[in-house]
């Protein structure tokens, strides 16, 4: 048991680094995912993750596999898409999903073309699937830094953000926080996707945001419990995924996301908000 569960982490430094990376992602990216879910923007996270690609690819094209260049490139590309889509949404008849789809599709096409201009398929795989088992100090610091900034920002934005999700018209009526909450949140989405893409790759980064959040939503009635559960699910899936990857010799990123999926399906079956809950016969109902 010890050999199976603990030894991989005590014996191998890269596993410990991966574990720390997963903890940081669970603490930073997953709470952002909870709000994405609550704002009904789960698929938008996916779109955003594609939007980041050309920036990262441009950084890669100019400086090779440089952490800084790809990070800055990814964040800039993500922010450009977010703000351009926001501008189009407000100034034209297009709704947010349509304008975002337009920009992220363009961004993705540009990104794939840029990656293919130079570079071998192996590099493309790295961008798409990340390298959680090969995190160096700099990447780890970046991921941990982004997680810290995210937690602080969420603490500052918490009340306006909750009101912006729950009743945006009311927030607009009583304060000027609405755009701050909206765009501040979208910026958090972008930086966390970039942080997730170093570890899990652009395609997998959304997984650790949305799946644990969706699973937690099936259990929790209140927001604090929802956030706590989502973080626990994400970290637990991270540990399980790393072990699975270690023992079965499969890529870590997909393994972690698949573990998140396992938690999600289990919740779907067992949780009070899941598939079975409303269908079981009620033996004792309440008086009022």
């Amino acid at each position: 048991m010890f050999d199976f569960l603990i030894a991989p982490f005590t014996e191998f430094a890269f596993m410990r680094r991966a574990l720390a990376g997963c903890l940081a992602l669970a603490l930073g990216a997953t709470p952002v995912g909870v709000f994405l879910l609550l704002r009904r923007m789960s698929l938008m996270g996916d779109a955003m993750s594609h939007a980041i690609l050309p920036g990262a690819a441009l950084g890669y094209l100019a400086f090779g596999l440089s952490l800084g260049a790809m990070t800055v490139g990814g964040i800039v590309a993500g922010l450009v898409v977010v703000f351009a889509a926001g501008l189009v949404t407000r100034a034209s008849v297009l709704k947010e999903d349509a304008s975002l789809a337009a920009f992220y599709l363009l961004s993705l096409a540009a990104g794939v073309m840029i990656v293919s201009l130079r570079g071998r398929n192996l590099d493309l795989l790295h961008v798409l699937f990340g390298s959680v088992l090969a995190l160096d100090d700099a990447s780890l610091l970046l991921i941990a830094g982004i997680a810290s900034v995210t937690l602080l920002s969420l603490a500052v934005l918490f009340r306006p953000l909750v009101m912006e999700c729950f009743d945006p018209a009311f927030l607009r009526g009583v304060s000027r926080w609405s755009p701050v909450a909206h765009y501040g949140f979208l910026m958090l989405v972008v930086v966390n996707l970039v942080s997730g893409f170093h570890a899990l790759g652009t395609l997998m980064a959304v997984g650790i945001m949305i799946l644990p959040s969706a699973a937690a939503r099936l259990w929790a009635k209140g927001l604090p419990m929802l956030l706590l559960l989502a973080v626990l699910f994400a970290f637990g899936s991270g540990i399980a995924g790393l072990l699975f990857s270690f023992h079965a010799d499969v890529p870590a990123g997909p393994a972690i996301v698949l573990m998140c999926g396992l938690v999600y399906f289990a919740s779907l079956i067992a949780a009070p908000g899941g598939l079975l809950a409303g269908r079981l016969p009620v033996r004792h109902h309440l008086e009022s």
Binding site: C165, F166, D167, A169, G173, V174, A220, G222, L226
Partner: protein
């Protein structure tokens, strides 16, 4: 009460969407402490007027002056809020949002403020509902919760857009009682109402709109068959390709104030079709 200073001054106000006016050349002074029913057919611009006063819509002509009002002095309750019922917040949390002007984004709730949230819930008949998720409330209960939140906003000017739509009669009676209580506290209240019987019973003043202002004054003088019929006829025509409107000054400089209802001439001196397009700057 007309001796009081005006709380809301509408000065030749035109509000609209896409250059089509929804409120057209409306001039009125609404004194502080008024309890005013805004009435008219569907599409008459009632909601648009409230939106404009709340600052959600910029006038395409004329002005809205709220000189006597402190910051955060308007409490506006739109007809269809953008409330997300499935969001995991409790009734207490929702009602406490009304204290935003006191606690802002970061302040905590003092014991006194918590007690006030409880009192507001009690006043709307939702005592004991604090911990319930907002999604578990019925339509009427949700409206009561919105009223409780509005009470905590403690605003001198209150704008209610069809607060009684799809609400059962007992709840309506309770909500009307709350509104009358706010009126006694001296607050200025504009309410969009459809039930004319209710207007006759509870609202001292009425503003009848049909994109054009039709009448403004004491309720009995506004709710006449003649004026109501005129409002209905006016609302029927709405022309996509309407010609431009060239009125630059209000027809009736002082629609407000008097004891009699004023009915501005509907057809002014120049040819003035219904639902025309504007070129105000």
């Amino acid at each position: 009460m007309h001796a009081a200073a005006p709380m809301v001054v509408l000065d030749n106000l035109t509000l609209g969407y896409d250059r089509h006016p929804a409120v057209h050349h409306l001039s009125a002074e609404i004194p502080a402490g008024s309890l005013l029913a805004v009435i008219g057919p569907n599409g008459a611009g009632k909601s648009t007027l409230l939106k404009g006063i709340a600052g959600e819509l910029r006038p395409i002509g004329g002005r809205i002056v709220l000189s006597a009002l402190p910051a955060a002095g308007v409490a506006y309750m739109p007809q269809r809020g953008e409330i997300d019922h499935s969001f995991p917040v409790s009734v207490f949390d929702v009602v406490a949002m009304g204290l935003w002007h006191e606690i802002g984004a970061f302040g905590g709730l003092s014991r006194r403020q918590r007690a006030r949230v409880g009192e507001a819930l009690g006043a709307v008949g939702l005592a004991g509902f604090e911990a319930r998720p907002i999604g578990s409330l019925s339509g009427g209960q949700l409206q009561r919760a919105r009223f409780a939140r509005l009470m905590l906003q403690d605003a001198p000017l209150i704008l209610l857009d069809e607060p009684f739509a799809a609400i059962d009669s007992r709840t309506v009676d309770d909500l009307v009682a709350l509104i009358l209580g706010w009126h006694r506290e001296g607050r200025t209240i504009l309410t969009v109402v459809h039930d004319l019987e209710q207007v006759r019973r509870h609202f001292p003043h009425a503003l009848l709109l049909s994109r054009e202002p039709v009448a403004y004054g004491p309720t009995a003088a506004v709710l006449t068959p003649e004026l109501l019929g005129r409002a209905r006829r006016l609302s029927e025509a709405f022309d996509e390709d309407a010609p431009e409107c060239h009125i630059e000054t209000p027809l009736e400089p002082s629609l407000a104030g008097g004891t009699e209802a004023h009915a501005p001439p509907v057809q002014p001196s120049h040819k003035h079709g219904d639902g025309h397009v504007h070129h105000h700057h």
